[in-house]
Every structure is written in structure tokens, then in C-alpha cells.
């Protein structure tokens, strides 16, 4: 590949004396489909030349579907590809006025795209929380393939297009009750509000994004979640229209590759996305954070959680009688949404710990088991409360499996008050739980093949209250502390995770716009 600092090969479309951006791509490469639309906003600052490694018809279709606003030419015989020699696509070569390669961007790399934008005097073009990954490798360049596929443009490519057709209209005959029709055709097992044109229109009027905009592609079937599809499901869930403000970032977040909803929706495990709301949006839209926070107390919590589930079912196709293979399921698959009780939290709330300002509303997702209760009414000291929590934490996933999982610890206000009185900071709570959650070595017997025992040689040994134990969690960051619930009652909760980290699901937090 030609290196930075080298003079680029000649290209008829290059504008001499100006900066040029040469972009190699393939039409069927998902990373190219994600990357190229970002470049539209640079078209007035740099001469962009798209170079397609596919044939004329596939290229034309790509330009239309991806709504590219800059010229694209077909690399006939892959001559330009051989001259520039990108190893993979997309590869972007930013050439300075002298025709020297100033910057190269390979694959989808948001930081590099934003640096490239800065090079040509533009603000960032690839936002952090638009649902696309920060980095994604592309596909091998066609000219390096053993048999060149140039010219076999596949007309059946499904593009990751930014907009889609409007939703179909369904006419329900006079003698059919639209509620019954909707339950039979689009529901989970509960009744839904029929998504009439008028109701969907009210939802659409509450947000400024056009109805046909694709917000995300929802696994496992990768259905296009247009704003209109999201609105129709929000109507069915009973959402007030104002919730569209939260639903759009929520759908982006749930489809963020780091969260891995594909796996969460298909696993035999209990996991369901737990939605945690922080910031001023709680008061603005009525998200509840106090007593009965996990249950049937507030329209905002219940309908937002249900709308997400209906979108996962209807647009994503993760149906409980189909691809969703969960052995026992999870009541959270009807709705699983809480808000943090920031007013009873003397420490920083979850979204602040995750890098947002306190006055920025945010939504966090965690691939979660149902909550398991921790009752501790007799403890005199904060440490004793945390010991009770640690004992519940030791049972996450499977008692003897260590170092693989994470947990959300939901501390109730009364427990928080005792901990704060005893001088615990949030970080100290986490540290204490990390250091005091373990499984005694005596529970691992020779020739016992129980889950978690075979991996014991990889576990970290610690001592808890004089007893040798394996440490339950891999890192401090495996524990997420949230304050929620009513001010009466000393009941906290521990919520176990599904598979975690890059091999499973990672917690994601997205900002909610004002």
C-alpha cells in the first residue's frame, strides 16, 4: 500500500492544487456501507473520489442506497486498486495539495475519521453514540483475492442503507376487532394498543427524525428499525409520544455491537436487556426510581421497557417461540426498566461514573438475569450489609464459576444511608464487594465436574475472613452500583449478567438528547 508521505499515483478525477480524498470500497462490504455515508459531510471541504471495486450496476445501486453525495467511479480491471494497493476496504487516502498521502484510514475507525475531518477543517463526522462501533475491520481488497470478483456485482446485496421504505398499511376488516387483530399478529402474550395511522403519526410528530430513517438493524434477523417502525411498536406498548426521545437512543444502544443483542436474544440463558435511566429525563418524562421500581408502578418505565421488547420481537425477530431459545426465560422480557434514585444517592450516579455529566440524561443497558433479593434488616454496620450483598454476589451465574461474570448491585436507600453514615464512598463499596466476594476452596472437590470446577486453576486466590477462597469477580469494573427503590425497607438486589466482555455482552450507556 502506498505509504503516508508518498506521492499518490495519477488519477484523472484528482483536482490538482487541492486536497483530495480517494476512497476505495466494495459494494457488499458492511464496513464500507457504514463508513462511506460519514464522508458526505466532507464534500464541500475536500474533493472526494470514491473508487468502487465492483461493476457499474452494483456501484450505481450502492450510491443510490447509501445516498452518497460525492462522485464515484468504477475501478475497471482494478488498475487503481493495484496502483494504490490498499490491503482491505474501505481504505481512505487523504492527499494534500501536492498530491502526497497525508493520512490513511483503514476500515471503520471513528477516531481516525474525525482526525481526517479536522485535517480538512471540519468538525467531527463520526459521533460516538450513533450505534456504530468505534472500530470495525473491513473486507480484503478485491485485487488481492485469488480470483478477482470484479465484474460479478451481486444485485441481491442487502445494503446497510440510511433510509428504508415506509411501513406497510394493513386494512383490518369492519367485523374484526383491531385490538384482537393486533394481539394475534404483532403482540407478545399481552394485549397491545392497535398502531393506527393517527396514533403512529402522533409518535412521529414528537421527534424530529424523518419516519423512514433507519435507526438500527435489530438482530437476530437484522430488521431495519425505522423511526416509523419504532413509533408503531411504541404505540402498541402504550408509550406516551414524548418517550420517542428515549426510544431512539435506546434502540441505537441495544444494537451497539458491544452489547451483542444478537447473542442476548438467542441464548438459552435468562438474559434480557435491563434498561437503567439516569439524569433529568427521569423527572421530565416520569421515570420512577423509588418503591416498586422493578414493577408495575410507572407508565414511563413499563411502556419504555415493553416497547423495547416489542421492537426486539417484531423488528428483530427474537421470538420466544422461535430464535429466542431461553430455557426458562425472564419476566423482564415483558418490560425491564428502572431509573436510578439519584436523590437518595449520596455518591455519583451510574451515568456519571460512566463518563457523562450529571445533568446529561442517559440510558444504560445490561444483559441481565432477574433481580435476586438481599434482605439485611438487622445489621448495625455498613460492612455487615455489604457482607450480605457479597454472599448473594457469590451465587451469580453458578456458585463455583469465578472470573467470568458481572453484576449490577441495586442498593436500597436505607442500606445506602447506613453505608454513607459509616463513611463508605461508592468506590469503597465496590472495592469491599470485590475483595469480599469469593467461593471457599473447600467447595471444590477432586473429581467433581460441577460447573466452574474445571477452570479453578485459572482463578485468583484470596483470603476472606481467614478462609482461602477463589475471587468471584475478575475486576472492580465487573461490579456496577445503582441506588434505587423506596425509603422504607432494607432490601437490596443483585442482578447477574450473561457472558461478558468482548466474548459476550458489554454494558453500554448512551446519552438521551434534551
Amino acid at each position: 500500500m502506498i505509504a503516508e508521505g508518498q506521492i499518490a499515483p495519477a488519477l484523472p478525477a484528482l483536482q490538482p492544487g487541492k486536497p483530495n480524498l480517494v476512497v476505495f470500497f466494495e459494494t457488499d462490504c458492511p464496513t464500507c456501507q457504514i463508513t462511506l455515508p460519514y464522508l458526505n459531510s466532507l464534500k464541500d471541504s475536500v474533493n472526494i473520489i470514491g473508487i468502487s471495486q465492483d461493476d457499474e450496476s452494483a456501484t450505481r445501486e450502492f450510491v443510490t442506497q447509501m445516498r452518497l453525495a460525492f462522485p464515484v467511479e468504477v475501478d475497471r480491471g482494478l488498475k487503481l486498486s493495484r496502483a494504490f494497493d490498499p490491503q482491505s476496504v474501505p481504505t481512505l487516502f487523504l492527499l494534500d495539495k501536492a498530491g502526497q498521502v497525508q493520512r490513511t484510514v483503514v476500515g471503520l475507525d471513528k477516531a481516525a475519521l474525525n482526525a481526517l475531518a479536522a485535517d480538512v477543517g471540519r468538525p467531527a463526522i463520526a459521533p460516538e453514540h450513533d450505534g456504530m462501533p468505534a472500530w470495525k475491520p473491513g473486507c480484503g481488497s478485491r485485487h488481492l483475492e485469488p480470483e478477482s470478483k470484479n465484474g460479478d456485482g451481486d444485485s441481491s446485496i442487502h445494503f446497510l442503507r440510511p433510509t428504508a421504505e415506509r411501513a406497510s398499511r394493513i386494512s383490518v376488516p369492519d367485523d374484526v376487532d383491531p385490538v384482537e387483530y393486533s394481539i394475534d399478529h404483532f403482540g407478545d402474550a399481552l394485549p397491545v394498543v392497535p398502531p393506527t395511522i393517527e396514533r403512529v403519526q402522533k409518535m412521529l410528530a414528537a421527534c424530529s427524525v424523518p419516519a423512514e430513517t433507519v435507526i438500527a438493524r435489530v438482530p437476530p434477523c437484522y430488521g431495519e428499525a425505522t423511526v416509523e417502525k419504532i413509533a408503531a411498536n411504541a404505540v402498541m406498548a402504550g408509550c406516551p409520544p414524548e418517550l420517542m426521545r428515549v426510544l431512539l437512543p435506546l434502540v441505537r444502544a441495544v444494537c451497539d455491537e458491544r452489547f451483542n443483542i444478537h447473542g442476548v436474544q438467542a441464548t438459552t440463558h435468562f438474559a434480557a436487556p435491563l434498561v437503567i435511566i439516569n439524569g433529568p429525563v427521569r423527572q421530565q418524562l416520569g421515570f420512577w426510581s423509588q418503591r416498586n421500581v422493578f414493577s408495575n408502578v410507572a407508565r414511563a418505565n413499563s411502556t419504555l421497557g415493553r416497547a423495547l421488547q416489542l421492537i426486539l420481537l417484531n423488528v428483530g425477530g427474537g421470538r420466544p417461540d422461535g430464535i429466542d431459545m431461553s430455557t426458562l426465560g425472564n419476566p423482564g422480557k415483558f418490560s425491564y426498566c428502572i431509573a436510578e434514585n439519584e436523590e437518595e444517592n449520596p455518591w455519583e450516579p451510574l451515568h456519571v461514573e460512566r463518563g457523562f455529566a450529571r445533568d446529561q440524561s442517559a440510558v444504560t443497558l445490561f444483559a441481565a438475569e432477574p433481580p435476586r433479593g438481599v434482605s439485611e434488616h438487622t445489621a448495625q454496620r455498613g460492612k455487615t450489609i455489604l457482607k450480605a450483598v457479597a454472599q448473594a454476589l457469590a451465587t451469580v451465574w453458578s456458585y463455583r464459576l469465578c472470573g467470568r461474570n458481572e453484576a449490577v448491585v441495586v442498593l436500597c436507600p436505607e442500606h445506602v444511608k447506613s453505608l454513607h453514615r459509616d463513611g463508605f464512598t461508592r468506590q469503597q463499596v465496590r472495592q469491599f464487594l470485590f475483595e469480599n466476594t469469593g467461593v471457599p476452596l473447600r467447595h471444590y472437590k477432586e473429581n467433581d465436574n460441577g460447573e466452574g470446577t474445571q477452570l479453578a486453576s485459572t482463578y485468583r486466590r484470596i483470603t476472606i475472613d481467614g478462609e482461602p477462597c477463589y475471587q468471584k469477580f475478575r475486576a472492580l469494573e465487573s461490579l456496577h452500583i445503582v441506588v434505587a427503590g423506596g425509603t422504607a425497607g432494607k432490601f437490596s438486589a443483585v442482578i447477574g449478567s450473561w457472558a461478558t466482555g468482548e466474548q459476550g455482552s458489554q454494558m453500554v450507556t448512551y446519552p438521551i438528547p434534551d
Partner: protein
């Protein structure tokens, strides 16, 4: 008057691919075995490989492994299996 509803269902058009012709015999064929990296999967696939080789006289067994069972197979894994006549994927523990 009939009610008109807005479809909340997935309407994304995807092109279906026809399944390849069923193999009439395993003899002399190239068979891919995909381990999705669930615990215990390799024991089952090891046994299957032995059976394929000894009882069904397959010409070649390609062993591929996903980095994690929680996600789709990445392109390099698919590439390994691309030229197999048939693939067996072990799905669970």
C-alpha cells in the same frame, strides 16, 4: 369503516439462498466441523471426526472454531469452511 394499521413488523427484504444439493455419500468428501467454542464441543467433534474418517471414509476434515459462541462466526472462520462439501456445526454444550 375498516381500521388501517401501520405494520410494526420487520419488512426488510432479504434474498433467500437455495440450499446446496444434499450429499449422496460422505465418501471422498471434504467435511467441515465448526466448534462454536462451548465447553465440551470439541469432545463431540473429535468423535465425529473419527467416525467420519473411519466409517464414512471422508477425504478431508476441516476443523474450524468460533472465537466465542455468543457471536456470529467472523469472516476468517467462514473462509476456512468455504470450500467444504458439508459442514457440521455443534450448537450447544
Amino acid at each position: 369503516m375498516p381500521h388501517t394499521l401501520v405494520s410494526p413488523m420487520n419488512e426488510t427484504v432479504v434474498s433467500a439462498s437455495a440450499p446446496p444439493a444434499r450429499l449422496q455419500s460422505l465418501s471422498g468428501k471434504k467435511i467441515g466441523l465448526l466448534d462454536i467454542s462451548k465447553p465440551g464441543g470439541s469432545f463431540f467433534l473429535d468423535r465425529l471426526e473419527k467416525v467420519f474418517r473411519e466409517r464414512y471414509h471422508v477425504a478431508e476434515v476441516i476443523r474450524a472454531r468460533k472465537p466465542t459462541y455468543t457471536k456470529n462466526a467472523p469472516e476468517p472462520v467462514i473462509e476456512q469452511l468455504r470450500h467444504a462439501d458439508a459442514v457440521v456445526e455443534g450448537l450447544a454444550d
